[in-house]
Amino acid sequence: MIDERLHIKGEMDSRLEVTDAPRLKQDGQTPFFKALKKNLFDGPKNTLLTLLTALFSGLVLYQVVQFAVTNSWDVVYIHLRLLMIGQYPLEELWRLWFALYYASLMIGGTWGLFKGAGKAVALTFGSVFLAFAIIPWTTLNTTLNLVACLLLMAGGYLLGSRFSVLKIPALVLWALYFPLTLGLIMGFGGLLDPVLSRYWGGWLLTVILASVAIIGCFPLGILLALGRRSELPVVRYFCIAYIELVRGTPLIMVLFIGQLLIPLFLGGQTGMDNVTRAMIAYVFFAAAYLAEDVRGGLQSIPGGQYEAAQALGLNKIKTTFFIILPQALKAVIPAMVGLFITILKDTSLVAIIGLSDFLGTARRISNNPEYLGRYLELYVFVAVFYFIFCYLMAYVSRYLERSLSKGSR
């Protein structure tokens, strides 16, 4: 009896399958085509729109490809070294390579150790290295160095993914990275042959300026934000005055002030070169904006958090550092990274005070009569380079935001 029932059930199942098959076939559409139909060809109006958009995009794409293929790009690759590192002396190039080796190893290691956004960073840097290694216009020396960078990155990844005990050494090495490499690039104040900042240029100068500005403005901005909420009137009014003064002034003017007034105030013989003065100007400028971002975060913390911390006996400093700041900074990550991206792009303004950063170098090359009218290739190259790194920053910020908001709703 039971057997028979099972048998019948089985038969029914198979019948179902048989009847199902043709029905699916009749439909004859894979999910891809269904999505296509639903999203792009949903009625005559949308179909028309889709076709027009496709036509337009096709045209633009055709133009871009034609531009990329028919141009010789020699203006870019002849000046590649100038665009990347400016006039940095050839015999001291190893310092820059060392900085890149160090970075590659750390990026690979971070990917292996912490996963997450390290992957995107490593892949982006890896792709850029690979692209530069593959294009035929770089010297053999450069190619070999870039391959070494890629190998170091891979090695770092392997090390990191095997040995998770390396987490703390990795963080220490990251903290040391910037002072160490900047010191190396400058020559450790006379320990090595000093390379004066007037020889820095191109992407190198852009990165150095942006890094100094971002790293420097962070503590200063937080202090200003806290100061603006201080109960001490002197501190509060000083911070308010500073923030509003800087925010009410164009960046170019701050740069000029840095160039002209700092030597004036400090008595002419400051020994400060104009890159250092630009750095100071950027740090002080960015700090005011960062302070406002952080203040927004501080205001978003409910009063209950302060009360709970106080009731537990935490004093003001401990409350700020353990309870309030971590939450406030987390809340303003998007705004802060937005500011950092702006800083990276705004470093191009140093061209006005006579420094040749990435964009400034491109502009100077395009002024060379030999390459008259060839600025488009240069600017496209510069734009793509900026975009890659700005987008990477935005991506990492989104990742940080998501991973830090895990657990807390």
């Binding site: 009731a311 537990l312 006996g313 935490l314 401990k318 309870i323 830090l404 709703r409």
Partner: protein
């Protein structure tokens, strides 16, 4: 379905065992406390006055609490009962009168304020857990940074306390992942971690869904039975009748009536108390 119910069954057994264990500890603790002079005034409030601008929110309040006593503060909203309990650990300032807690006078002196906050634990209506820290970290933070305990010791005590409030398995989660009742129990554990002599509860169950009120009240009940001095602002009449040693009715910033639960509920002296009880019961 079956799997689920058997799990809750097992949980219930564990819970009961735990409660029995706590009860035994409680009985031992209580007799010890009773032996040590029960009549110590641990909180002494006299002629306390507070204004918000022109608004007189606390008027000449006197209250003396002996060690181990449980005081439940009742009153309509806006009566000043929350403000009163918050002045006890200096979350609110007061303009005249005095507060002495465990022999320390509450003054503007930050040192005294710090000492008093070490002696008093506070539980808030909105829990106020630190959302960026794990439960364990929430509980062990203050012992590590205020009491200066070693991390190992603080974590161990934190885990014990989480066990005591019945949620040891949540230690590594974040506050946002817990229900309201669980969060409030963590908040109680967090306050207890500082080993306070007095616990202040500011409407601890008012923000909870009804089905979670009891789990919190149970913890408070066992805490009261362990001999902790407690001042509780609440609207939970059952808890007040069952656990309180004395009830205090606040209205318009004044103490209208103060009595033992039986007298308070059965023979209230003041018309205002009768009105309040008729509205709430």
């Amino acid at each position: 379905m079956i799997k689920g119910s058997s799990y809750t069954g097992r949980n219930a057994v564990i819970h009961k065992e735990r409660e029995e264990k706590i009860m035994k500890e409680v009985v031992a603790a209580k007799s010890a406390v009773e032996a040590a002079a029960d009549k110590n005034p641990i909180i002494k409030v006299s002629k306390l006055n507070k204004w918000y601008g022109d608004l007189h929110v606390i008027k000449d309040v006197d209250l003396t609490v002996t060690q181990g006593e449980v005081i439940v503060v009742l009153g309509p909203s806006g009566s000043g009962k929350s403000t009163f309990i918050r002045t006890l650990n200096a979350l609110e300032e007061f303009q005249s009168g005095s507060i002495v807690i465990d022999g320390i006078e509450l003054t503007d002196d930050l040192k005294n304020v710090e000492e008093i906050r070490k002696e008093t634990g506070m539980v808030f209506q909105q829990f106020n857990l630190f959302p960026h820290m794990t439960i364990l970290k929430n509980v062990s933070l203050a012992p590590i940074w205020v009491r200066k305990w070693k991390k190992g010791k603080a974590d161990e005590i934190a885990r014990d306390l989480l066990e005591r409030v019945g949620i040891p398995e949540q230690a590594d989660k974040y506050p946002g992942q817990l229900s309201g009742g669980q969060q409030q129990r963590v908040a109680i554990a967090r306050a207890l971690a500082m080993q306070p002599k007095i616990m202040l509860f500011d409407e601890p169950t008012s923000a909870l869904d009804p089905e979670m009120v009891n789990e919190v009240l149970d913890v408070m009940r066992s805490l009261a039975e362990s001999g902790m001095t407690m001042i509780v602002v609440t609207h939970e009449m059952g808890f007040a009748r069952q656990v309180a040693d004395r009830l205090v009715l606040f209205d318009k910033g004044e103490i209208i009536e103060m009595a033992e639960p039986k007298a308070f509920f059965d023979h209230p002296k003041h018309e205002r108390t009768k009105l309040f009880l008729s509205q709430i019961l």
